[in-house]
């Protein structure tokens, strides 16, 4: 199995006026291809900062980060944008669809920045929307879709460039429990098809659906459990 994420001694320190506030303290973590991982922790635990660093939206103060074998520490901002485009698919709590665009156009968006030509964009986006079960909603704008459907569009957008990693930040945070189940089912299904998924959540039920739980507290990883079948059945 190839290692998708390798974090070596990652620290992140914010400078607030004269005081240094350490948010991540020498975090070491590796995630293999095909894993389904939950990162948990209370607010202030550093889990959001960790997610931003994994998602290449932020840089560590020190330490090294290898994504699919590439050392990201040396890359500039534009190269990081390309990494996000090619290797990472984001799913957000608030979906973050562009309200003026159709489902299809929303899903096509990442491919615009990948310089994919238009006919192929349409083909790939249609395929991704079929994968999340929205073949009949290609031309609808987000306001014509339910919350669950909107999140499915967002997941299709995350998948469309065939990323090495799907990074989901509280993907069910804005959904009711029934819809949440459906979205988690979809993520499980995608994982079974081979997609590496990292979910950041504080919801135990969501974490229970994953195969491994990483728990953060005060900037360090305090628990890194391979969830047992028993644990998952229990919940």
């Amino acid at each position: 199995m190839a290692t998708i994420i390798l974090l070596k001694d990652i620290t992140k320190t914010y400078h607030l006026e004269a005081i240094d506030v350490p948010v991540l303290k020498r975090v070491n973590l590796s995630i293999e291809q095909g894993e389904y991982v939950a990162i948990m922790g209370a607010s202030g635990s550093g889990k959001s900062t960790l997610m931003n660093i994994i998602g290449c939206l932020d840089r560590p103060t020190s330490g090294e980060y290898f994504l699919a074998g590439i050392n990201l520490t040396t890359l500039d901002d534009d190269e990081l944008a390309d990494i996000r485009n090619q290797y990472i698919g984001f799913v957000f709590q608030q979906f973050n669809l562009l309200p003026r665009l159709t489902s299809l156009a929303n899903v096509m968006l990442p491919m615009i920045y990948a310089d994919v030509d238009r006919s192929q964009r349409i083909e790939q986006a249609t395929e991704a929307l079929a994968q999340v079960g929205l073949s009949d909603r290609l031309q609808n704008s987000p306001n014509q879709l339910s919350g669950g459907q909107q999140q499915r569009v967002a997941i299709a957008r995350a998948l469309v460039n065939h990323p090495a990693l799907v990074l989901a930040d509280e993907p069910t945070g804005a959904l009711d429990s029934q819809t949440s189940q459906e979205i988690m089912d979809l993520l499980t299904e995608l994982n079974q098809q081979g997609t590496t998924i990292v979910v950041v959540t504080h919801d135990v039920d969501v974490a229970a659906r994953t195969k491994r739980v990483i728990r953060m507290l005060d900037g360090v990883i305090v628990e890194n459990t391979q969830a047992s079948i028993d644990f998952r059945l229990k919940n």
Binding site: N52, G55, L57, D58, D77, D78, A81, D82, R84, N85, Q86, F90, F92, N96, L98, P99, R100, L109, P110, Y113, A114, S141, P142, N143, R157, N161
Partner: protein, 403 residues
């Protein structure tokens, strides 16, 4: 919600564009109209000849009280005839007496026009000839015969295009006049419409329409004097002034009771006034373009703030800062160039309408189109560029989480 956003975006883009459209179309329309009017004036005055002096009766003084300029009591036909004889630089003199508002009636058509009573030299000196029929003859003048020569507009107002005006009867002040001629069309010179006139013989005009109010002889409003060429005009002016002072017993520093103007001075004055007017109005239009630009900048700035989430998302899915900058710049360029194109079209249309309506040559100065379009593009790019740079610099994390 999304529909609202969509609509607000449409309205927003529309309003931004409107700023550019108004700015550019006013720049173009105003400069075009200004130049057209200026050109028309130059043409007309050139057509009138640059070797013409105009002598007008000035305020008559009765016991030191001014009676008002142009009151027809200080110049007489005899003055004009004396000038023709005694001024060597004068090649022709045409005396005239006018009434700005006379009713001309034909059948049940009743129009108001300017009546000009004059002599045989008028067509030559004014450079206007009968297109149909004839101007009146010396005999008509001698016996104050009730004959009329119509300006082309007056003819068109009174007669259908198919009718023959020559020989027809019209009524002025209840008296019957026979139409003997129709003058060619000359359009307007300054405020005067050369076509909206009816010409009568000076003697008839004086006797029947205006009345004789000079102390001696036939009162006139003034006369036009033609010199052999423009160079002779100055000496003509000098001689006319002296002859009239002598005849009117005026010794400087006494004030003259007449006023001598020459066409060249009129052209110069008019052109310079028109030039500065065009410049001023152009400047106003320029300012409106700048204001439009500030409007674009403002709306682009608001748009960037409203669209932080969109920018954050685009960056998260792989847009570089350059790509975001490009997107916003392109939007600004599209808005300002579409607005610019519409503005140019509208400006030209406005100028054309005005030119057709008020009958002056239709000129669109190329520079106004280039400057207008260039300015709108520059304003659009600057006004869009600064917010675009801010947008490109946005931190995707903050942008994504900011509501």
């Amino acid at each position: 919600m999304a529909v609202e956003t969509l609509w607000s975006n449409k309205v927003r883009s529309g309003l931004t564009m409107l700023g550019v459209i108004i700015g550019i179309s006013s720049v173009i329309a105003i400069t075009s109209i200004g130049q057209g009017v200026q050109k028309a004036t130059e043409l007309k005055i050139e057509a009138l000849g640059t070797n013409i002096l105009q002598v007008l009766a000035a305020s008559a003084r009765t016991g030191g009280i001014s009676q008002g300029a142009g009151s027809a009591s200080t110049l007489t036909w005899e003055d004009a005839q004396a000038i023709a004889k005694q001024v060597p630089a004068a090649t022709a003199v045409a005396a005239f007496l006018y009434s700005p508002n006379i009713q001309v009636v034909r059948g049940n058509v009743n129009i108001s026009t300017t009546g000009i009573g004059t002599d045989l030299n008028f067509p030559r000196v004014s450079n206007i000839q009968p297109q149909q029929g004839v101007f009146f003859s010396q005999q008509d003048l001698d016996i104050a015969k009730p004959v009329a020569v119509l300006g082309s507009k007056v003819r068109d107002d009174l007669f259908a295009a198919s009718e023959n005006a020559i020989g027809a009867d019209i009524r002025i002040r209840g008296k019957r006049y026979k139409v003997i001629g129709v003058m060619e069309s000359k359009g307007s010179v300054g405020p005067q419409d050369m076509d909206d006139r009816v010409y009568l013989s000076l003697t008839n005009m004086s006797a029947e329409i205006v009345g004789n109010n000079a102390l001696t002889g036939v009162a006139i409003n003034g006369f036009l004097l033609e010199s052999s060429d423009a160079d002779q005009l100055e000496s003509a002016q000098f001689q006319v002034t002296n002859v009239l002072r002598l005849r009117h017993h005026i010794r400087p520093p006494q004030e003259d009771d007449f006023r001598v103007t020459n066409q060249v001075d009129i052209i110069k004055t008019f052109t310079s006034i028109m030039g500065s007017l065009t410049l001023m109005v152009g400047a106003i239009a320029g300012i409106s373009l700048v204001v439009g630009g500030i409007g674009i900048a403002n709306i682009m700035l608001v748009s960037v703030m409203e669209r932080t989430r969109e920018i954050g998302l685009r960056k998260a899915v792989g847009a570089t800062s350059g790509a975001i900058l490009n997107q916003f710049l392109m939007e600004a360029i599209v808005i300002s160039s579409i607005g610019g194109a519409i503005g140019i079209g509208l400006g030209i249309a406005l100028a054309f309408t005005a030119a057709t309506l008020f009958k002056f040559p239709f000129v669109v100065p190329l520079w106004s189109v280039v400057v207008g379009f260039g300015l709108s593009l520059i304003v659009g790019v600057l006004a869009g560029g600064i917010p675009a740079r801010n947008a490109a610099k946005l931190d995707p994390i903050l942008a994504l989480h900011g509501e």
